[in-house]
């Protein structure tokens, strides 16, 4: 193993980064690791666009009057913030970056089952992204990311069809990624890598992929129907022509609820890997954690109308969906308990990835608990369509999914880039993100219960103090996100070269070089050990006996 030198650049072994140079070698690559980096760059770009919109929203909300931007502009801001963040950042993020990079390596394969389809996925994402960019630059959309009918089909004159088609194209990127993962996990596990030896990251991505495959086509067809109705003035969703606006809501939420599980499950997989590594022990209750991912995926398809409790559905339908929503909460709670139990009698290190994992558990717990409030019919009537809901889903998406993503980026950064990130800065960033996040979103729970509706650019005076607190938090949060951008880039040139396994972590990916070679493994691994074999990894070395794994 080469020791890191701190003066000159060490002589580099051939790896996936330096095997070929030039833009074409990247744009026509079929190497899952390069595609992961292509995604990393593109989704980071969209993250900052969505984040910029968020900044403008929070600035407008500093004052009760609508005085920063025009009403139509504000309506476009929150719509584009939602569409970009959901479809072009959160849904791809972990699967397309960390999943693409790690799934083949974790199971001992050379690549995904369909490398060219993988590249196609990225191109579809880019085409969808460019369409969305064009749409935003030429006027944008103002329907809210949920584009309810008949407003979106018969009243607004913004570019619904173009935005819808952009999402449609990006949706196929998501479907193909999911398809690729499922086939890879079924068919390309190395000899000895049984289902019960798979890292829980793989289980989480498997469950996510099922949702992507089964759910995304439904929003695709919904978008087609909206586009056709809008263009040809049909009446599928328009009551004036005999249609039903609630049919749209059912079709929309049938995908969009499972979509939130697409956004959170991979992050849970990341957190599981990090906790096992930094507590130096096997996850408590492996089977339960694995099956809870599948349970979330299945139950996640059964709860969509909890977004419609006041929309005009029958009381009996509401009862059914409320009950099922409580059922889906159980597997998530189980995961939190298992992570906590893993720390018991562990040997815990506080490196940056672990700090992000702690942050995830804390914030996801709060977000998940507030989901219980929303699932309660009597309370939902009061808080639905208010800032309470906004706070709830940001706790899960940002406090949960995004923190998991950042933690995963830090954890696997040495593997991906061959460099170490600066640890102190990383810990500082984690802290800033955690504090900024709570300051931004906790006041919004109160605002929601007070009755401040969502999608409002002007509000009664008595809501101002809480809004100001929230905006203050948002600026802190923004700083917290900029820091990793900066030091990750810095590390690519100036960071210490990373050893193959800087964390002494379990998992086949750590048996490759840092960065890995194009085909990952010199010889196909044969797995004869269980996952998370930290007892073996940490066993004191006996003279002359090499570490078996």
């Amino acid at each position: 193993m080469s020791m890191a030198t701190t003066t000159m650049q060490p002589v580099e072994r051939e790896n996936y980064l330096n095997k070929e140079y030039g833009a074409l070698s990247w744009l026509f690559t079929t190497d899952h690791k390069r595609i992961a980096l292509l995604y990393l760059m593109s989704i980071t770009f969209f993250f900052f666009i969505g984040g910029f919109f968020a900044l403008l929203i929070r600035l407008e909300l500093l004052t009760p009057a609508g005085d920063l931007v025009q009403p139509d502009t504000y309506n476009k801001l929150f719509t584009m913030h939602g569409m970009v963040m959901v479809f072009f950042f959160l849904i791809p993020s972990i699967p397309a970056v960390l999943g693409n990079f790690l799934v083949p390596m974790m199971i001992g394969a050379k690549d995904l089952a369909f490398p060219r389809v993988n590249l196609l996925s990225w191109y579809l994402y880019i085409i969808g992204g460019l369409m969305m960019l064009h749409c935003m630059l030429t006027g944008g959309v103002d329907t809210g990311w949920t584009f309810y009918t008949p407003f979106s089909t018969a009243f607004t004159n913004t570019k619904i069809v173009e935005a819808g088609l952009a999402i449609f194209v990006a949706g196929f990127s998501s479907i193909l990624t999911g398809l690729n993962f499922v086939v890879t996990i079924h068919r390309m596990r190395a000899p000895g890598m049984t289902w019960s030896r798979l890292p829980l990251f793989i289980w989480a991505h498997y469950a996510t992929s099922i949702i992507q495959i089964l759910g995304t086509p439904v929003i695709a067809i919904t978008i087609v129907l909206v586009a056709v109705e809008r263009t040809l003035h049909l009446g599928i969703f328009d009551p004036k022509l005999g249609g039903d606006p609630l049919l749209f809501q059912h079709l929309f939420w049938f995908y969009s609820h499972p979509a939130v599980y697409i956004m959170i499950l991979p992050s849970m997989g990341v957190v599981t890997e990090i906790i096992a590594c930094f507590a130096r022990k096997r996850i408590f209750g492996y089977s339960f954690v694995a099956f809870s991912s599948i349970a979330i995926a299945v139950f996640g398809f059964l709860v969509w109308a909890h977004h419609m409790f006041v929309a005009g559905i029958s009381i009996y339908a509401a009862l059914v969906f409320s009950l099922l929503s409580y059922a889906v909460a159980v597997p998530s709670a189980v995961k939190v308990f298992n992570w906590t139990a893993t720390l018991y009698k562990g040997s815990i290190h506080y490196d940056a990835p672990m700090l992000y994992a702690f942050g995830f558990i804390g914030l996801f717990t709060v977000g998940g608990l507030t989901g219980l409030f929303l699932a309660a019919l009597g309370i939902d009537v009061h808080v639905t369509d208010t800032y309470f809901v906004i706070a709830h889903f940001h706790y899960i998406m940002v406090g949960g999914a995004l923190m998991g993503y950042l933690g995963g980026l830090h954890f696997w950064w040495p593997k991906i880039s061959g460099r170490l990130y600066p640890e102190s800065w990383a810990r500082l960033a984690a802290l800033i993100v955690f504090l900024g996040f709570n300051l931004t979103f906790f006041p919004q729970f109160i605002l929601g219960y007070l009755g401040m509706p969502r999608r409002y650019f002007q509000y009664p005076q008595e809501f101002q103090v809480l809004n100001v607190l929230s905006t203050a938090g948002a600026t802190v949060l923004g700083v917290g996100y900029l820091l990793p951008m900066i030091y990750f880039l810095w590390s690519m040139r100036y960071g210490k070269p990373a050893p193959d396994n800087p964390w002494n972590a379990a998992g086949l990916e750590w048996k490759t070089t840092s960065p890995p070679t194009t085909f990952n493994f010199e010889e196909e691994p044969i797995v004869t050990w269980e996952a998370y074999n930290y007892d073996e990894l940490d066993a004191p070395r006996k003279e002359g006996v090499p570490i078996a794994r």
Partner: protein, 236 residues
């Protein structure tokens, strides 16, 4: 060190020219392709599923109006198309068998006939669409559906707004199906080209098999569409 006879089986096995580098062996490649196509067809089921769902809901709500509208589309042409597609699935099965048993001429012939049947389907569809256009049943500005009696209730006329919903769904569903047919034809054109170049052998004809799966799926969607759209409330 790991036992090298167990590892790297692909070094020992003959490197089939069609075997892609990242697969351990041809069996893994075949199984992956097959599973991949089945999953893709699953996504297509969900895609069409949304439309079927919308259709079934409106059919229940506006049964009479939908019956009147359904009666006005040409069931004879629809039935002919059903027969055409079923035959084309037969020729697809024939093509797969031909590939499996190294019958190159039969393979090429079957692929050609399949495509001809597909084109026939699209042609008949075109005739149907023209009929609808001529009768002003295409949704939009020139749509009209006045004084059309509801089947079984000769004194009651269908509500044109509801009939327009039927036709909207009719055109979207059959149009989407036709689009998949066109894609299928493109796929088969490519398969034909490869077959003509002799790329398929009994050991390697995966594209024919998964192309066949796709074609069968398009056929099955039609087998659901036909009775749902054409045969509501029809009495001899």
């Amino acid at each position: 060190m790991l036992d090298s006879t167990l590892v790297g089986l692909h070094h020992e096995e003959e490197h089939h020219p069609e075997l892609l580098h990242h697969f351990a062996d041809a069996q893994q490649q075949r199984d992956s392709a097959s599973l991949g196509m089945w999953i893709f067809l699953g996504t297509e089921v969900m895609f069409f599923g949304g439309l079927f769902c919308a259709y079934l809901i409106y059919r229940r709500w506006y049964f009479g109006d939908f019956g009147a509208a359904s009666k006005s589309i040409n069931a004879a042409l629809g039935a002919t198309n059903t027969a055409v597609l079923i035959c084309s699935s037969l020729t697809v099965v024939l093509a797969v068998w031909a590939a499996q048993t190294a019958r190159r001429s039969l393979l090429i012939g079957s692929l050609v006939i399949t495509m001809l049947l597909g084109l026939t389907f699209l042609g008949i569809k075109g005739v149907e669409y023209k009929e609808k256009f001529d009768e002003h049943h295409v949704p939009g500005a020139s749509f009209s559906f006045d004084h059309v009696p509801i089947p079984g209730h000769p004194d009651q006329y269908a509500n044109p707004r509801h009939a327009q919903i039927f036709f909207s769904l009719y055109f979207i569903m059959t149009g989407l199906h036709a689009l998949h047919m066109i894609i299928g034809l493109g796929l088969f054109a490519w398969l034909l080209f490869m077959a003509w170049k002799g790329r398929f052998t009994p050991e390697y004809h995966t594209p024919i098999e998964i192309g066949g799966l796709y074609w069968h799926f398009v056929d099955i969607v039609w087998i659901y569409l036909f009775p749902l759209l054409y045969l509501i409330d029809r009495h001899p």
